[in-house]
């Protein structure tokens, strides 16, 4: 998978994982406080934040694995910094990353418009929900409540991760620091922008 990657792309992904690992951790704490008040529903509408790094990395690097690896690494960094959710977090990172990666793989890594990015956010949401269904025991909750949780999470994945991810990617492109990455090349030659 990594054969076609340049070293600078791998390092870029790692640094993004570090930045977003910190951001993620911040939001874990914020939502933990929330969750104490209104229960597991609190996490749902913020869930998109935790999918964003895979969307941004894929949007910039545009190579197979960018979504999956970046999300996994961000989760690993979170664990390394000393997050209390611990190694289980890496597993959920893997699953969220796979969700986004699946969508990009379906488009054969050819299209990176807003629709695909939003779908990728939804992919992460669906995958993480199925995983959460088992691990956090949603099966014990009322089905209509579970359906509500699912809907909010999918929306959050599409809006925060999909649209937000594209926004950050475009803003970064505007700073000019992304010359030499696939995103800048695609804009110039507009092959598949």
């Amino acid at each position: 998978m990594l054969k076609s990657w340049k070293l600078k792309e791998a390092v870029l992904m790692s640094l993004f994982a570090v930045v977003f690992g910190i951001v993620y951790l911040l939001f874990v704490h914020v939502s933990n406080i929330w969750a104490a008040v209104i229960g597991p529903l609190a996490y749902e509408w913020m869930f998109g934040i935790w999918f964003i790094v895979s969307i941004i990395c894929m949007y910039i690097i545009r190579k197979p694995g960018a979504a999956f690896l970046s999300e996994t690494m961000a989760a690993t960094i979170e664990v390394l910094i000393g997050n209390a959710v611990g190694p289980r977090l890496i597993l959920s990172g893997v699953i969220q990353g796979l969700g986004a990666e699946a969508v990009f793989a379906l488009t054969r890594y050819q299209h990176f418009n807003i629709l695909v990015l939003m779908l990728a956010g939804i992919g992460s949401a669906v995958f993480s929900f199925v995983y959460g269904y088992f691990v956090s025991g949603y099966a014990a909750l009322d089905p209509s409540f579970v359906a509500l949780m699912f809907t909010i999470r999918v929306l959050s994945g599409a809006i925060i991760a999909g649209i937000g991810g594209k926004y950050i990617g475009d803003a970064l492109l505007a700073t000019g620091s992304l010359r030499g990455y696939a995103i800048a090349r695609a804009k110039k030659g507009d092959v598949n922008a």
């Binding site: 070293l7 390092v11 104490a36 209104i38 611990g86 088992f134 014990a140 009322d142 950050i168």
Partner: protein, 247 residues
Amino acid sequence: MHDMNPSVKFIVITASMLVIAFFFNPWTPLIFWLGIILLQLTMSRTKWKLWLLFMLPFSIGAFGYLWTTIVFGAETGGAIIWSFAGIDVTEEQWARALSLAFRVMAFSTLSLLFAFTTDPVRFIMSLMQQLKLPPKLAYGVMVGYQFLPVMKDEFTQIQQAQRLRGAETKKYSWQQLLSMRRILIPMLAGAVRKAERSAFAMEARGFTGEPRSAFYHPIQIDRTDWLMSGIFLILLLTSCIGGSWLG
């Protein structure tokens, strides 16, 4: 605990979490939770004050789970134990709610056990040596990890620079959260440049990203790992069987 191979520890902990997730009685997670605390008490050098501080948000979270499960839990049969504010709590609901709450406690304790007894650099090295993580990624993560303090400095720098130019600081915390993006973009742009520079530096020093067979700091799997895995397995079995028997 501290001497255990990080990869082995990681696999054992993740596997036991997955197994526990299949049990819905309150006893299994409870027994498991107590067992883990016992393990940590006897076999690790934990700073317990810090541990309590970390556990606090999780205890609150577990409580949140407890009451939402009672209120929003699926309708189930069983005798009504007590009712409160028009909500009848049945025996089954109570057991489920307790089970979920204990599960949160057990999982967070287990995670803290890992976080408190594992050295991050050793963990990455072990991932590369035992689980065959590609070196490109492993050293990438290490570079990122080393940049952590730099990122922190940069964060304050950008913040101060913006304040100097008269960007007003927001009063409410939710507004501050929204203005995060003003800091995030310059930080990411800086990260891109740093990534490029360090990648060049690594290549210039002959790093190709090819897998290798010899390491400067070899990390091995030895007897301690087998012993600890065995203890974990026994604990897991005890809680599963004991939990089903009691429940």
